[in-house]
C-alpha cells in the first residue's frame, strides 16, 4: 500500500482519521501512536508559532483559550509559506468570525496591530533624512514637498483603544484602557518597533503623505499640528527622503 502525501497530510489534521494504511510499527502492525507523533509535532509547532506572533492576544484571552483557538485556526489556515515569522496573516478575519471571541470585539484590531509590529520588526533597514534638510527649505518649497517613508512605518486606525490595550499588555504600570477609538503610528528607528498614539488630524496627514500627497495638501484640518507631526516622524527616523 503506497501512502500518498495527500493522505498523510489529511491524517495530520484530522485526529478522527486512522493513520494511513502502509505506515507500520517495527513489528509490521499498522502504526497508530507513532503517527500521532507527527500530528502532535505539526499542531504544537504551528500553535507555538501563533503564540510567538500574538503575545498580546494570548494575554487578553488566556493560555487555555489561545491554545484551543490556535487549534481551530491552524486547521482552517495552515501556513502557505515556510516563513513562520509571518504565519497568522488571516488572524484578524478569523477572529472577526470566531464565535467564542465575539465578547472581545477589539481582538481583530489587536491582531492587525501585532501583525504590523512583526512586519515592522522584519522590514528592510532604511536610512533617514537629515532633519536639517527639511528645515533648510523655504516654506513654499517645504509645502510642495512629498516624503518617502521607511518600510517599517505603518498607520493603523481603529474604533477601539488599540494603543492603550497594547500598552497595558506589554508595559508595566501602563494605565487601564478607556473604551474609545484610537489610531497609531508604527515606526522603527533602530531594531525595535515603536507604537505611537495619533490624533485624528495627524492620522489623516500621515496617511495622505504615505499615499504621496505634498505637505501642503495635508493642511486640510485646522486641528493638525504639522510641526509636531513632522517632529515625531523625524525623531523616529520614519522619513527616508523628501522629493
Amino acid at each position: 500500500m503506497n501512502v500518498t502525501q495527500a493522505a498523510f497530510r489529511a491524517g495530520l489534521f484530522d485526529p478522527e482519521l486512522p493513520a494511513p494504511n502502509g505506515l507500520q510499527n517495527p513489528d509490521g502492525a499498522q502504526a497508530s501512536k507513532r503517527f500521532d507523533v507527527y500530528r502532535n509535532n505539526v499542531a504544537v509547532g504551528l500553535s507555538d508559532a501563533l503564540e510567538a506572533a500574538f503575545p498580546v492576544i494570548r494575554k487578553l484571552v488566556g493560555d487555555n483559550f489561545f491554545r484551543a483557538m490556535a487549534g481551530v485556526y491552524l486547521r482552517k489556515h495552515p501556513p502557505k509559506s515556510p516563513l513562520m515569522m509571518f504565519y497568522g496573516q488571516a488572524m484578524p478575519q478569523f477572529l472577526r468570525r470566531f464565535g467564542p471571541a465575539q465578547s472581545l470585539p477589539y481582538l481583530p484590531d489587536i491582531a492587525l496591530l501585532e501583525l504590523a509590529m512583526r512586519r515592522a520588526y522584519h522590514a528592510a533597514d532604511a536610512g533617514s533624512v537629515d532633519p536639517q534638510s527639511l528645515g533648510a527649505l523655504a516654506p513654499d518649497a517645504l509645502l510642495a514637498s512629498r516624503l518617502r517613508f521607511a518600510p517599517a512605518v505603518q498607520v493603523l486606525k481603529s474604533g477601539y483603544p488599540i494603543h492603550a490595550i497594547y500598552r497595558a499588555n506589554t508595559t508595566a504600570d501602563a494605565p487601564k484602557p478607556v473604551m474609545k477609538p484610537e489610531n497609531v503610528l508604527i515606526t522603527r528607528a533602530g531594531f525595535d518597533p515603536q507604537i505611537h498614539l495619533l490624533d485624528q488630524a495627524a492620522t489623516t496627514c500621515i496617511a495622505a503623505l504615505k499615499d504621496g500627497a505634498t505637505l501642503g495638501e495635508t493642511l486640510v484640518d485646522d486641528r493638525l499640528d504639522l510641526g509636531a507631526t513632522l517632529a515625531l516622524l523625524l525623531g523616529q527616523s520614519a522619513i527616508t527622503s523628501i522629493y
Binding site: 498523510f8 522584519h122 533597514d125
Partner: protein, 284 residues
Amino acid sequence: MFDQPRDTPLPALPGVGYKPQHYADIIKDADPVGWLEIHAENYMGDGGRPIAQLRHLAERFPISVHGVGLSIGSEGDLDPDHLARLKHLVDWLNPASFSEHLAWSTHDSHFLNDLLPLPYTETTLAKVASHITQVQDTLGRQMLLENPSSYLAFAESTYSEPDFLREIVARTGCGLLLDVNNVFVSATNLKTSPQAYIDAFPVDAVGEIHLGGHDEDQDETGAPLLIDSHGKAVVDPVWALLDYTLARTGPKPLLIEWDNDVPDWATLADEAKRAAKALDGVAA
C-alpha cells in the same frame, strides 16, 4: 567584508545552532565553538535585527545555513519562490555550507512546519535526486542532505536508508549531514542496530555531523518511542555512538542542536566542550 569564501568548508570543530538570546555571550567569548548554524527561514525577512546580527556574526564565524522549509522530499515540485529566497540568502551571506533534510514539509502549497517522512523507493529516489540537482544548480554549490528521525516504517520501502542516501549521493554529487541522534532515535524506534546503520553509511560523503537531545515515550505496545525534540542535553548512548561514528568518518564539523527549552550559553558551551573532547580523541 565577508572573508569566508565559498571554497572554505566548515572547520572540524564544535558548532552550535545559533539562538538570538546567546548573541552577547557569543560575541564576548564563544570558546570552544568554532562555527554557527542558522535556520535559513529565520533570516528571510527584509532587514532588522535578525539580518544585522547575522551580518555581524558572519564576519567572525563560519556559518552553516540549514534549511527547514524546502521540502526536498515532496511528491510535487519545489516552491520556486522559496528556492529564490534561499538563493538570495546564500548569495549575500556566502556561507561555508548549506544543508537540508531528507523529508517533506509542504503539500499542495500548504507548509506543515514539520519534517515528514517518505518511503524509500525508485520513485522517491528519482524525485529527491531531481530536487537536489535543482537546488544545487540554483545555488551554484553542493548541498548536504540530512538523514531524518523515523518514528514509523513504510511498507512500500525497497531501499534501506543508508542505501537510499548512497544512491542520492551517486546521482547528484551532494554531500551528507549525518545526524547521530537521528540514527539513534530511528534505530531505537524501528528496532534496528545504530552501529549497523553507521557501518552501512556512505561516510566518504559526510560533511557535517549533528548531535541533539531527544524525549522518551512508548508506543501503544509499550515499545520505546524516542522523539527528536532538540530540547535537552545529548544522552550518553548518543555520545558513545558519536565516538563510533567519528572512528569511521574522522574529524568532522560537529553541531550541537538545542532548539527548544534553549539553555543558557554556559550549558550549551559545556555540550560543545564535550564535542571538542570527542573530536580530540579522533585521528585525522
